[in-house]
C-alpha cells in the first residue's frame, strides 16, 4: 500500500526535476512509486538509489538529482507536507529561475548592409543567373529577401547529401547478396523452383551531424546564415536524431530539444526563437571551455564513427588554449571528421594566426571558409562519405 503523501511527495520531486531540465515522464514516476513500495522508505540512501534507477537518471543529470533530493526528500518521508519545495537553486541556462530572463535579443539583421542597386549585376552579363550572384554574395551583404531565396537553394543543395553505405541489408531489385529467406518464399509460389533470386544490399546512409555554433558578438554577421544552413541540413536529415545543434559563447546550450518542439515554420522565425533561448547571444566567447563542456557531457553519446562535427567559429578567443586542444583532440579521435568553418577564412589574405585558431589547426581535418553560399556548397561533399 502506498501512502498518499508519498505519492504527492514523489510527484512534487518529479516536477522539481522537470523544472530543472531533467526529463522525467509520467511512466518514470509510476516506476518510481513501484520502486518505493519495494525498498525501505526509512533508509534515505536506499530511497535515493531506488529513485535514481527508476527515474532513469543519467550521469549528466546526476548532480541536479542529488541536489534536489537533498533539498526535497526529508529523511522521514512520512511528513513531506512540512516541506514546501524551496525555490530551486540549481543553475540552469534554460529554465532556472535563478538565471534572470535577460531577454537576449537575436542578432539583428545587418540592416544597413543591403547592397546598393548599382552593385547588383545587370541581366546582360554572360551566364548571369540571380542564383549565381546569390551564391557569391558575402553573408554580410544579404538582404532579408536574399535569405529566403537562399533557404530554397539550401534546401535543394542539402537534398544531395547522400553518404556512405549502411551496414544493414535491405531488399533490392538490383544487384546484391542473395536473400535466402525471401528467395525461398518466392520459390514456394512456383512449386519450389527458384525462378529468380531475391537480393539484399546496403542502402546509403546519411552522416550524423553535430554542429557547434559560435554566437559571440564577433560572429554576428554570419551566425544567422550559418544557422540557416544548419537548420536546412536538419530539415532534410532523414530522422530528427541525426542532427544535433549546440550554440556556445560563454556557455554551451543544446538547441536540439528546442528544435524538436518547434513546429516547422519559416527558418527565420525558428532562428528568433532559438536566439531567445541562448543566454548572452552576441556576447564574448570561451571556445575552449565550451568545447570541453561538450566533450565532457555529450561526446560519448552524440559523437561516433559516423558523426561529422562542424564547428562554426572565427576562433577569436583570448582564453586558455589547453582545454580547447584537449577537447578537439577528443573530438577528432572519435568523430569521422572534424570541420571548422571560419567566416574570416573567406578572405584570401587570411592566415589562421589568431591564437585559438592556430592552436586548433592540428586537430581539425579541414578549415573551410564560410562567408558566402558558394563556400557552404563546397562544404557539402565533405559532409558525405
Amino acid at each position: 500500500m502506498i501512502p498518499a503523501d508519498l505519492v504527492h511527495h514523489l510527484a512534487r520531486f518529479s516536477r522539481a526535476l522537470r523544472e530543472h531540465g531533467v526529463a522525467v515522464s509520467l511512466s518514470d514516476e509510476a516506476d518510481g512509486l513501484e520502486a518505493l513500495t519495494l525498498v525501505d522508505v526509512g533508509d534515505r540512501d536506499e530511497v535515493r538509489r531506488a529513485l535514481s534507477a527508476a527515474l532513469k537518471i543519467r550521469p549528466r543529470d546526476a548532480a541536479v538529482f542529488a541536489e534536489l533530493f537533498a533539498l526535497l526528500w526529508s529523511s522521514g518521508a512520512a511528513d513531506p507536507a512540512a516541506h514546501r519545495p524551496p525555490p530551486p537553486r540549481v543553475p540552469d541556462p534554460l529554465h532556472g529561475p535563478s538565471a534572470p530572463r535577460r531577454a537576449p535579443r537575436p542578432a539583428a539583421w545587418p540592416a544597413g548592409l543591403v547592397p546598393a542597386a548599382d552593385v547588383l549585376p545587370t541581366g546582360d552579363e554572360p551566364g548571369f543567373s540571380p542564383e549565381a550572384v546569390l551564391r557569391q554574395k558575402p553573408f554580410e551583404e544579404l538582404s532579408a529577401a536574399d535569405l529566403q531565396a537562399m533557404e530554397r537553394l539550401l534546401a535543394r543543395l542539402t537534398l544531395r547529401l547522400a553518404t556512405r553505405p549502411s551496414r544493414r541489408l535491405v531488399p533490392t531489385p538490383g544487384r546484391g547478396t542473395i536473400d535466402l529467406r525471401r528467395s525461398f518464399r518466392k520459390a514456394l509460389a512456383h512449386g519450389g523452383e527458384f525462378l529468380s533470386l531475391a537480393r539484399r544490399t546496403r542502402p546509403i546512409e546519411r552522416a550524423r551531424l553535430v554542429v557547434l555554433c559560435d554566437t559571440s558578438g564577433s560572429m554576428d554577421p554570419y551566425t544567422r546564415f550559418l544557422l540557416t544552413f544548419v537548420l536546412a541540413l536538419h530539415r532534410v536529415a532523414r530522422t530528427s536524431r541525426s542532427t544535433e545543434i549546440f550554440a556556445f559563447n560563454t556557455s554551451l546550450v543544446r538547441l536540439t530539444p528546442s528544435l524538436r518542439s518547434l513546429r516547422p515554420e519559416r527558418i527565420d522565425l525558428v532562428l528568433d526563437k532559438l536566439a531567445a533561448r541562448v543566454p548572452d547571444w552576441s556576447g564574448g566567447t570561451r571556445i575552449g571551455e565550451c568545447l570541453a563542456t561538450f566533450t565532457h557531457a555529450y561526446l560519448d553519446e552524440l559523437v561516433n564513427g559516423q558523426t561529422i562535427v562542424l564547428i562554426l567559429s572565427d576562433g577569436l578567443d583570448r582564453g586558455d588554449l589547453t582545454p580547447l586542444q584537449g577537447a578537439l583532440r577528443a573530438l577528432q579521435r572519435r568523430a569521422r571528421r572534424v570541420l571548422w568553418l571560419n567566416p574570416l577564412a573567406g578572405d584570401r589574405r587570411y592566415e589562421p594566426t589568431a591564437r585559438a585558431m592556430a592552436a586548433a589547426l592540428p586537430y581539425v581535418d579541414h578549415l573551410l571558409p564560410a562567408h558566402n553560399l558558394e563556400s557552404l556548397e563546397r562544404l557539402l561533399p565533405l559532409l558525405t562519405a
Binding site: V39, A53, K56, R181, R241, E301
Partner: protein, 302 residues
Amino acid sequence: MRPEIAELQDAMERLGYIADPAITTALFLSREMRRPLLIEGDAGVGKTEIAKVLARLLETELIRLQCYEGLDVSTSLYEWNYQRQMLRLRIAEQDGGKTAEEIEDLIFGRSYLLERPLLRAITRREGPPVLLIDEIDRADDAFEAFLLEVLSDFQVTIPELGTIRAEHVPYVILTSNRTREIGDALRRRCLYLYIEHPSLDKEVRILRARVPEAGAVLAAEIGRFVQALRRRQLSKAPGVAETIDWAQALLHLHSAHLDRETVEQTLGCLLKDHHDLRELGPDALTADLADAVAAREETAAS
C-alpha cells in the same frame, strides 16, 4: 536497508562480484519489478559481469546477444534452416504421396527453425534465463525499435508458425558504453543504472576477491596507482577489468610490490592508447608511484 538487498549483496560477493548498494538496489528492483535493467558506464567497470553473476546466482542459463551495427531479425531472433528445408523438400518430392500442405507443415516446423538468442530466451522451458543484450549502443535505431517490441510483450510472431509467447519472462540486462544515446522509448522500458569507476576501497576489495594471490600490500598499491591514473586526463581511463589484468601480470612477474621497472614494463596492461602512454611521462609516473608506495609505508608502519 531492505534485508533482501543486503542478502543480494552478500550473495554477489560470495560469487566474487563486489557490488555497491547502488548496483544491488537497481538489480533487486529490476528482479522484483520484472523490468529490464539498462546499465551504462565506461568500458571495463563490470557491466557485463553483472549479468554473468546474476545468472550464476539464479542458477539459470545466460543467453547473450552481442549487438553490432546492422544486427537484424535473422541474426537476433530466428532464421529458417533453408538448406535443411530444401533437402527435405526434394526428398518429399521423390517419395511422392504427400500433399502440398503436408509438405509445407513439415518444412515449417519447429525443428527447421534456427533459434537465435532472443527467441531462445523466451522459449526456454526450464525457467526464466538471464538475457544479456550487450552493447546495445552498437546496434542501430531500427534494431532498438524492434527490441522495444520484444521487451514489451515478450512475444514474437513468426509468419509461418504464429505467435510464440514467452514461457517465462526472462531477466533482461542491457549494457551500453554510451557511444550513442539510447532512445527515450527503450530507456523508459528499463530501469537505469550508471556504474562509475570504483572507489579505492572497493577496488582493493575487488582485487582481493578476484586475484587472491596478490597480497594485501600489493593490492593496496595497485589500487592507489590506478586511482591516481584515473585522476589524470586520459582518453581511456583504465577500468576494473584492466586493473585485474595488471595485477595478474604483476603476479606472473613475481612482483610483491610496485617498482618502477616492472611498472614501466607492464603499463600496457592499463593504458591501451599510445597518446595516454606518452602523456604519462616519467615525472607523472614517479609522482603516481610515490603516491602508491606511500600506502605501503603507512601499512608497514601501522
